[in-house]
């Protein structure tokens, strides 16, 4: 069984879960690092720190964006520099297949 579906190229799928108050900032970071689009869903969650104030204004947001590996790495670096320490935020990167990967890179 082949595990690579026969589509036309691989890109990074970056997912960020953060307290919702950060949404505008994270979208600015994404755009600055080269992302051309993203999808946002409302979420809630539990973590090891629970330092957010999100209870009061809508929990967490879950932002996912198809980007080039370089953009994913750049955003991750921005998060590590300015966000992971103080904010309620987690992020991960997966490798996914898309149609016409040029669109996202």
């Amino acid at each position: 069984m082949s595990t690579t579906p026969p589509t036309h190229g691989h890109v990074a799928l970056l997912t960020i879960v953060a307290e919702s108050i950060l949404e505008p900032r994270l979208e600015r970071e994404l755009r600055a690092c080269g992302a051309s689009g993203w999808t946002v869903t409302a979420a809630r969650g539990e973590g090891s720190r629970n330092r957010r104030v999100g209870d009061l204004d809508g929990g967490n947001v879950r932002i996912e964006s198809l980007v080039s590996n370089d953009t994913a790495a750049a955003v991750m670096q921005r998060l590590a520099d300015d966000y992971f320490t103080h904010y309620a935020i987690v992020a991960w990167v997966a490798d996914v297949a898309v149609h016409r990967s040029e669109r996202y890179i």
Binding site: E19, I21, L22, P24, R25, A42, R51, R52, V53, D55, L56, D57, G58, G59, H86, Y87
Partner: protein, 321 residues
């Protein structure tokens, strides 16, 4: 005694009982939170309704009446956070950053405490100047700015102002409150009449539902009390009394009626739990929400709701009588 009777009436009013219900639900392990979307919808309703009602009343006020109380409100908005910051240095071992964060909350105001006070005064047949909603709007921001400045100085770093401040000013709270005020002024009593069944008659009921939710949120904050030390809860009860007395006095001096002075006392005594947390979280992520939210939402809010509001009225009656 009259004041005790009023306090008891207040305690047994549906909004306060709603708050208690939410709190008790958390204590027995339940959860009466409204769905997020409904909570946000109701909070937009409350802001707009308060704004409109205030605007309709404001229309009847002369500019001369409004000027002095507005100046008093701004002055209190600057003074109160400074005072809070200094007192917290004595009373607690908190860092300057955490003290600034708390000061920002007490410098700003709580819409629901304000609203509950209006409902309380109305039930007690005590008149209130129409323009007090303007004072609410005016006092929302300055205290936050001062608190953040104090924290920034303490942390010896510049804040990322631009973003945070803009985000507050065009945030939903201010837009709805000020927008509602303007809407109320423009539409006047004849226009208001047609929306009164929605924005007026339902108000106390919706506030009750809303307070069930706030009770739940406050209940969830209580465990954090243990980690905060004894100084903070004491501050969260005594400081509102001090600030409330200042507000009542300033209001009286500025020419407000007993009802109006009570409201300025309530605005001074109350601590923000919507605008301030958002601003503080963005500008001061290192500050611990376990301190500022627990103090403002977990202690000061219920204290004002149950004891503070009738107390400030009593003070206003003594000062202004």
């Amino acid at each position: 005694m009259e004041i005790l009777r009023l306090a008891l009436d207040n305690l047994l009013s549906p909004p306060v009982l709603g708050f208690a219900l939410g709190l008790v639900a958390v204590l027995v392990g339940g959860d009466l939170r409204l769905p997020d979307a409904v909570y946000q919808g109701l909070s937009m309703y409350l802001l707009l309704a308060i704004g409109i009602k205030g605007g309709v009343a404001l229309r009847a006020s002369s500019v001369g009446d409004v000027i002095l109380p507005t100046i008093a409100a701004i002055g209190l908005g600057v003074l109160i956070p400074v005072l809070a910051y200094l007192i917290l240095r004595r009373a607690t071992p908190l860092s300057g950053l955490d003290r600034g964060a708390i000061a920002a909350h007490y410098g700003s105001t709580s819409l629901v405490t304000f609203t509950a006070a209006l409902v309380f005064l109305e039930a007690s047949s005590i008149a209130v100047e129409g323009f007090v909603t303007t004072l609410l709007a005016v006092m929302e921001i300055p205290g936050i700015v001062v608190g953040l400045l104090l924290a920034g100085r303490a942390a010896d770093r510049s804040l990322s102002w631009g973003a945070s401040l803009h985000e507050i000013l065009v945030g939903k709270s201010i837009l709805l409150l000020v927008g509602g005020l303007v809407l109320g002024v423009l539409t006047g009593a004849s226009g208001y009449e047609r929306v009164e069944p929605f924005f007026g008659a339902l108000f106390v009921g919706i506030l009750t539902l809303f307070l069930v939710e706030l009770g739940t949120l406050a209940g969830r904050r209580l465990p954090d009390l243990k980690t905060a030390g004894i100084g903070l809860p004491i501050f969260a009860i005594l400081f509102p009394i001090l600030a409330g007395t200042m507000g009542v006095t300033a209001g009286s001096l500025a020419g407000l009626s007993v009802g109006g002075a009570t409201i300025l006392g309530v605005l001074s005594a109350s601590a923000s739990y919507i605008a301030a947390p958002a601003a503080v979280r963005l500008a001061l992520p290192e500050a611990n929400p376990g301190y500022y939210l627990t103090a403002s939402l977990g202690i000061t809010f219920p204290f004002n709701l149950v004891i503070g509001i009738p107390l400030y009225l009593e003070i206003a009656q003594v000062v202004g009588g």
